[in-house]
């Protein structure tokens, strides 16, 4: 993703950002898959802990349906609202400033906590590989977050081009592992029938399947990040739907391969607690080459994801400052590197703090919570979008089929996921929603007075119906 930010103008004149339209569908694919692919290397397997190996497969498919709905809806809205900020820009134009403020916060927390999870995974993987007594992951976590923040501070073009390469390497490692274990035969390396039996497939019954939704989200969390590139793609109408849907197909294939290999090589009790299921699978093949390949791929996937997350979170925070939803101090652009450096620096200590006080599944849950709140918004947003600008009233880059079925499916699956989170992290969910509630009151009754009203609507559309 190539982002060129112009130096900030005085706040009174409004800070503007100019973005280069240089991206194609492949870049959109790389942006989405780069952030998400780490989910195959860790996180998804905690759904096996919640409900057993079969529950992890069921949620892989059902949550895949949730994300297919997300991708369909997102492709239509973003190919039409081709403005930087993705869902934030959508909310500004379709629902209103307060919703946009909340959506930006959802994005910032989902991506920052995903970055935290990536850093923890990277640190733990290195510590496990080193096998040195007394070695802790703290220095590796700090180094990962600081170095990647520094790369983002200096400019993102090179780092995101590197992201494309390391994402491809990590993905290919899953394919290599899959074909190395002779997936067409059972009994030699893979022993699915002996590891997933009628007696242990669903150890908690169907309540375990519902509980597994919480971490099933991790298979695909972040694919919606493709929309952050809306203003930088050469042809939003073509690139965004193709790139996003290709990303979803890629991830569905990777998720299915990952589940099949891991569930066929590890008892579900172990699969549910390990931090590195694919690396473990590589070890269990007995091949040092595969073991080392999966070790490196785990690190690369974590780095690619963290890098993309820092980029996207900082841009969302920057947008809040630029639109005066937060102090304009955040909207400053580095005069030399043309990056939103204050936003990057502001989010750095927050990521560091949570990397040290939260463990991996807590950080993942923070990220999932903000993600699910955002998907709930998206299911309602598309209904409002079609109502305010019916088909034919404005030019849409892409029109998703079967409306409103994807929106209804998405909403229902979000409700199920909220219930799943309640089964493990109910207090956390209440605390986070209370935070969003209080910060919304702060915005609506105080901060909104600093916002320029008419400037929030920049699309060349007719007046929405009903207003």
């Amino acid at each position: 993703m190539t982002i060129a930010l112009e130096p900030a103008a005085p706040a009174a004149q409004g800070d503007r950002v100019s973005l280069l339209r240089v991206l194609g569908p492949a870049h959109v694919w790389a942006l989405g898959v780069g952030i998400v692919l780490v989910g195959e290397f860790t996180g998804w397997n905690f759904s096996a802990d919640k409900g057993g190996a079969l529950a992890a497969l069921i949620v892989c498919w059902v949550v895949g349906l949730l994300y297919t709905s997300v991708a369909m809806i997102d492709s239509e809205v973003t190919s039409t609202v081709a403005a930087a900020g993705g869902q934030y820009a959508q909310a500004k134009h379709i629902v209103g400033p307060l919703m946009a403020f909340n959506v930006a916060l959802f994005l910032v927390f989902a991506y920052t906590m995903l970055e935290v999870s990536d850093a923890i995974l990277l640190g733990d993987t290195i510590v496990a590989k080193a096998g040195v007594e007394g070695l802790t992951h703290n220095s590796f976590i700090a180094a990962t977050i600081v170095v990647l923040a520094w790369l983002n501070y200096r400019g993102v073009l090179m780092t995101l081009n590197v992201n494309f390469v390391i994402t491809a390497v990590a993905y290919i490692s899953i394919v290599i592992l899959f074909f190395s274990v002779s997936p067409w035969t059972q009994g030699a390396v893979l022993k699915l029938n002996e590891l997933v039996t009628p007696g242990n497939a669903l150890p908690y019954g169907w309540i375990g399947v519902i509980a597994a939704f919480q971490f099933g989200i991790w298979y695909y969390l972040g694919i919606e990040g493709t929309t952050q590139a809306a203003e930088e793609v050469r042809s939003p109408a073509r690139s965004l739907p193709y790139g996003t849907m290709a990303g979803m197909i890629t991830l569905l294939i990777a998720a299915a391969m990952t589940w099949y290999v891991c569930a066929s090589m590890m008892p579900w009790e172990y699969l549910g607690i390990t931090y590195y299921p694919l690396w473990d699978a590589g070890k269990l093949t007995g091949s040092p080459l595969l073991e080392n390949l999966l070790f490196v791929a785990t690190l690369l996937a974590a780095m690619a994801s963290a890098n993309g997350c820092i980029n996207d979170a900082a841009r969302a925070w920057f947008s809040l400052g630029r639109d005066r939803y937060l102090p304009t101090w955040f909207s400053a652009v580095h005069p030399r590197y043309r990056t939103p450096y204050r936003s990057i620096l502001f989010l750095l200590p927050i990521a560091l703090a949570f990397a040290f006080i939260a463990d991996l599944n807590q950080a993942i849950t923070f990220s999932i919570l903000s993600g699910v709140l955002q998907y709930t918004f998206m299911s309602i947003n598309i209904i409002m979008f079609r109502k305010k600008w019916p088909l034919g009233s404005i030019r849409r880059g892409y029109t998703h089929p079967f409306h409103p079925i994807p929106a209804i499916v998405l909403f229902c699956l979000c409700v199920v996921t909220f219930f799943a989170i309640f089964l493990g992290f109910g207090s956390q969910l209440i605390a986070m929603v209370a935070f969003y509630f209080l910060i919304s009151l702060w915005f609506h009754f105080y901060r909104y007075k600093f916002v320029r009203r008419g400037d929030q609507f920049t699309m060349p559309w007719p007046k929405p119906q009903g207003y």
Partner: protein
Amino acid sequence: MSRYTPPEQSKAGQVFDIAVVVVAIFVALWLPLKLGLAGAAKSIDALDAKTWEALGQNPTMASIWEKLGYTPETAHDIIQNRFHYVIDWPTLIIMAAVLIGYFVFLFRASDREYRDVINEKFDDK
């Protein structure tokens, strides 16, 4: 409709607003961790006989555990550490009420602000 001109915020005001946001973030995310409120109810259903059979592991499973470096004794706490899913109805009702209340407020307050935006944007033309 006349164009709304927002006030300019002082540096001190900006610093104060940043502090408010930072404190809110840490209270919301850090406090539940500190109070031990995050995490599902998992507990170890201890067994007296610590054998692979007693732990419900067939020979294939047992061989993989051993390949991973575990014995029945060391694997016991992993295998027997189970969730006990209990629906706490009062908490569930509070959670649902908080979520619904949040979204209702969000859409209604957003709509009021959106009308300001639309009125100013389209009355300019």
